[in-house]
Amino acid sequence: MVKVSVRKKVKPQLKKYEKITEEIVEIAEKLLKENTVEKVIGFGIGIFTEEVTPIFISNPENADRLVFNSKAEMSLAKYLLNYKDQKVAIVAKPCDSRAIATYLAEDLIKRENIKVIGINGCPGIENNTACEECDIRNAVISDYTVGKKMTEEEIEAKLKDKEDKIEKMTPAERMEYFQKEFERCTRCYACREACYVCYCEQCFTEGNQPEWVGDSVKLNDNFTYHLMRAMHMAGRCVNCGACEMACPEGIDVRALAAKMCRSAEELFDYRAGIDSDQKTLLSDYDVNDTESGFME
């Protein structure tokens, strides 16, 4: 029998992910062999499922288990807080690299302890609406880079001009919209666990002196929880969309946090996670700050 070789058609997009994966594996192997780091935190295929999960690699032989594809949705930056005193390398999407920059700005981790494998020209994550609005597609901080750096024109071409439909509504309509969203919330706190900003050892939802928000799943308390969480996001959220992807009820969790990002940029010309030396928005002030919304 004649063997017929069928050439598989590979989508250019897929190829991009594969190339990034190859480069990540190569760098990780090198770092582990040279003993520069003790661990590499990255994305890998799960043991029992085909889903992408975070994996922690300390043996150079296992470096080929690292992957990067369109389902690598979680933010790995949060794991850095578990390895504060160890030398670790981390695979960072551009949004993760911004998260790392924010951690550095907040003095939570030491720059010399981490090696960042930054992904340049991030092709985006499946089903993540935040990627459509993302205009930072190159790693902000990195020791090693993989992928091809995207130019500004390329990034702009990828941006979808999406008008915020909530902004156009009247206050009553907006209230109704969010009531409908938060009604479905079961307070599983998946959004909190997925979020890199939410690293508090004791969350405001758990304390009872004072009891900021009731434990029960009532709309009034659900709404309050989401407002309070969004207030903690102010000037720290990098709009990565992890909260929205983690939500099992498909609630528009990101809307409030994204609004805070936009407002911070409009009113204070501030963007979180751009510079690892910047002060966070609310831990700084300017004498000539705006007083929009104040009484006369």
Binding site: W212, A264, L267, F268, Y285, F294, M295
Partner: protein
């Protein structure tokens, strides 16, 4: 509701002890009349104001809030009110985006000598909140009014 069946709002007023609280005191001792709709919470500085306090006030049924601190540059702790200012601006943005009317959120500055101005501020705040009516809560269910709290009963 008052005796004419008009809406009388309950406003949580967070006053800085070094200025606005003293201004309220001055207004009182100068016998300046202002609406009795505010419930004063005395804070050591507006910089101490956690935005959660304001969200919590709405959660518990306040129709509106009033925050008053020292004028920028006059803070007893030098820059507490400047930190607070950013926080309030961001909070205000978020609350309006979530559908809470702008009229319910009142922020202002008031020094200890401005008793008259303080009375004016309270009048403005009450007028603002009256414009948008009773607060129905984040769930839109409204709050059951406690006896004697907002109802002025006819004797």
């Amino acid at each position: 509701m008052n005796e004419n069946n008009e809406f009388e709002p309950k406003i949580a007023a967070f006053l800085c002890t070094w200025c606005s609280y003293a201004a309220a005191d001055l207004a009182g001792s100068s016998r300046i009349q202002y609406p009795p709709n505010i419930r004063v919470v005395r804070v050591p500085c507006t910089g101490r104001m956690d935005p959660f306090l304001i969200i919590k006030a709405f959660n518990m049924g306040a129709d509106g809030i009033l925050v008053s601190g020292c004028h920028p540059g006059d803070c007893h702790f030098l820059d507490g009110n400047l930190y607070a200012r950013r926080r309030f601006v961001m909070l205000n943005e978020m609350m309006q985006y979530a559908g809470v009317e702008a009229e319910r959120m009142n922020f202002t500055w008031c020094s200890a000598s401005e008793g008259k101005r303080f009375a004016g501020v309270v009048e403005d705040a009450v007028e603002n909140v009256k414009k948008v009516g009773p607060w129905q809560g984040f769930d839109g269910q409204g709050f059951s009014q406690e006896e004697g709290e907002t109802t002025v009963e006819k004797v």
